[in-house]
Amino acid sequence: MTVFIIRRLLQSIVVLAVTSLLVFLGVYAIGNPVDILISPDATELERQAAIARLGLDRPVWEQYWSFLINLAEGDLGRSFVFNEPALKLILQRLPATLELAFVAMLISIFVGIPLGIWAGFHPNSVSGRGIMAGSIVGFSLPNFWQGLMLIMIFAVILGWLPAGGRGDQGEFLGIRSSLFSLDGWSHLILPAINLALFKMSLVIRLTRANVREVLPQDYVKFARAKGLKSRRVVTVHVLKNILIPVVTVIGLELGNVIAFAVVTETIFAWPGIGKLIIDSIFVLDRPVIVAYLMIIVFMFIVINLLVDILYSLLDPRVRLADQRG
């Protein structure tokens, strides 16, 4: 296990290095930020000064090299726009995105898995079919439209919940978060639902498919033949087997939710990293884009590692130490 984790961490460094190069070249290729940053009527002299100040006059490999050196020191560059460290900008906004993603995933897991199990056990019942039809709707509705409808219904028409923003944050054990205040929750719940609907549909369909696959297995029949109560058959024998693929997908989706909550954050004016990256792309704020992508890649690596470890806990046939990279 330890060997496995060390090997994975070493591999991760390689992945990070390769991504940094790709990201850097990609971002370098998409245009000159100076055109956007300084006013069009600036003199050529001012222009040159700005380019020199941002280090854009140096050759690309030199820029990359200094980026790597800074990266090793934990410095991901300064934002052209805010003139603040890019890392600081991202970390300021990360908690908002994390709490949104966290609540959205909890909703999709704790609503999705039970519904999926129910639909798997009653595939031909009205309720089972209803759940599956609902999941197709959840899949198909465009995220932005769905968000607007939620705002329309719950904020505008019913007036139950605020339409956007993050609201007050409570403090608990020294951590400030929307999760610790009622006002925070009232702001959080709509965007979280909006973000959760698609994942929930995915979890429902995945769970149902796996239940359908596990149910005819001999070990389920054998468990029943032992005289176990059906409750135990479902919650132990079936659930533990379906969790393996479900955990894998949820892990990957968690990364996606954090990285690409852009649409939801934009609609609900949620001050998270999704909104930051979109704004940064508009103004070609290179250091922020690069820093953002690096952090996201790092996060995916960590999540994948955690999923692998969790996987080995769920499935005794998977022995992490035995795997050869």
Binding site: D218, F222, G227, K229, V236, H237
Partner: protein, 328 residues
């Protein structure tokens, strides 16, 4: 009840599956009886309904299938009309089952001790420690070395034969009155088959447990069973004492089966076989299901033959049984 030793009496059992394509009569009029300590061989080819018969007794027929007619009298109680909770209390405790493929019967993600302790605690108020001790003893009883350590293992750490021993140990945990073994040796190596057969026979004899041994292999039941019930296309076509059925088969199908056993064929000759293939369960011919493959079939066979008992204790479902040889 006339016979105090009677464990099980299955009478006119019919289990049908109501599929979209039509009604599949997987079990269609099967009857047999079983006394304490007796072994019944339930013989038939794939799809003949022998496994479904076993599941019907266990109350484990899944929709769209259900028992539509017949009585399954187990120690004086008709299981066919028992509610789920009462049936659950019998399952695993009074009637246990062993499945065909030991690779599939144990849950791959649960440890052996979990799977054994839950089986005990499903029927008894028993502490984890006591249950563990019982599980350990049961593993030792079926010949698993160092059972204490093996309890902590997962199924994939056992060989096929060892897994089947675990399954047998689980079946024996509550000292049931009846064990239904659904082809438990089919998926195993021949050497292991012999060992498992021997173990089961020994344990069943020691505990006086009745056994239904479901198989397609006549040579297995020949040495094991007291009674044989031969099934074809969901129907019991011949039942009787093992020696009678094997030595003097009445039904042309049983006869064909026995003649197909390679060791009964003369060397150098092409192996004898039953002509044709088994009919699809959705399109059974009216009358005897075996008529198309039967060398003796005539016009009468288009109507359904009833079970008759031309020889005492040996019944057959055929208009033209092989009585001439039986009498000889």
């Amino acid at each position: 009840m006339a016979n105090g030793n009677r464990i099980l009496e299955v009478e006119g059992l019919r289990t049908h599956f109501f599929t979209k394509a039509g009604v599949v009569k997987s079990v269609d009029d099967v009857s047999f009886t079983l006394d304490r300590g007796q072994v019944l061989g339930l013989v038939g080819e794939s799809g003949s309904g022998k496994s479904v018969t076993g599941f019907s007794i266990m109350g484990l027929v899944d929709p769209p299938g259900r028992v539509v007619a017949g009585r399954i009298v187990f120690r004086g109680t008709d299981l066919a009309h028992l509610d789920e909770e009462a049936m659950r209390a019998i399952r695993g405790r009074r009637i246990a089952m062993i499945f065909q493929d030991p690779m599939m019967t144990l849950n791959p993600v649960l440890r052996i001790d979990t799977q054994m302790i839950e089986a005990l605690q499903a029927h008894e108020q028993i502490s984890d420690d006591d249950a563990r001790a019982r599980a350990r003893d049961a593993l030792g009883q079926v010949g698993i070395p160092s059972p204490e350590q093996r309890l902590k293992a997962y199924p994939h750490q056992f060989s096929g034969g060892m897994r089947q021993r675990v399954a047998i140990a689980i079946a024996l945990l509550h000292h049931p009155d009846l064990i239904i073994a659904d082809e438990p040796t089919t998926a195993l190596d021949v050497t292991i088959q012999g060992q498992i057969l021997y173990e089961v026979q020994k344990l069943v004899r020691e505990q006086g447990t009745a056994l239904i041994w479901i198989t397609h292999d006549l040579s297995v039941v020949a040495g094991l069973a007291d009674e044989i019930c031969v099934m074809y296309a969901g129907r019991a076509v011949e039942t009787g004492h093992v020696a009678d059925v094997i030595e003097r088969p009445l039904h042309p199908y049983t006869r064909g089966l026995i003649n197909s056993v390679p060791s009964r064929n003369p060397r150098g000759q092409p192996l004898r076989q039953i002509q044709g293939v088994a009919p699809t369960p959705l399109k059974l011919p009216p009358g005897c299901a075996f008529q198309d493959r039967c060398p003796r079939a005539d016009a009468r066979c288009h109507s359904m033959p009833e079970l008759s008992q031309p020889v005492a204790g040996h019944s057959v479902r055929c208009f033209r049984p092989h009585l001439e040889e039986a009498a000889a």
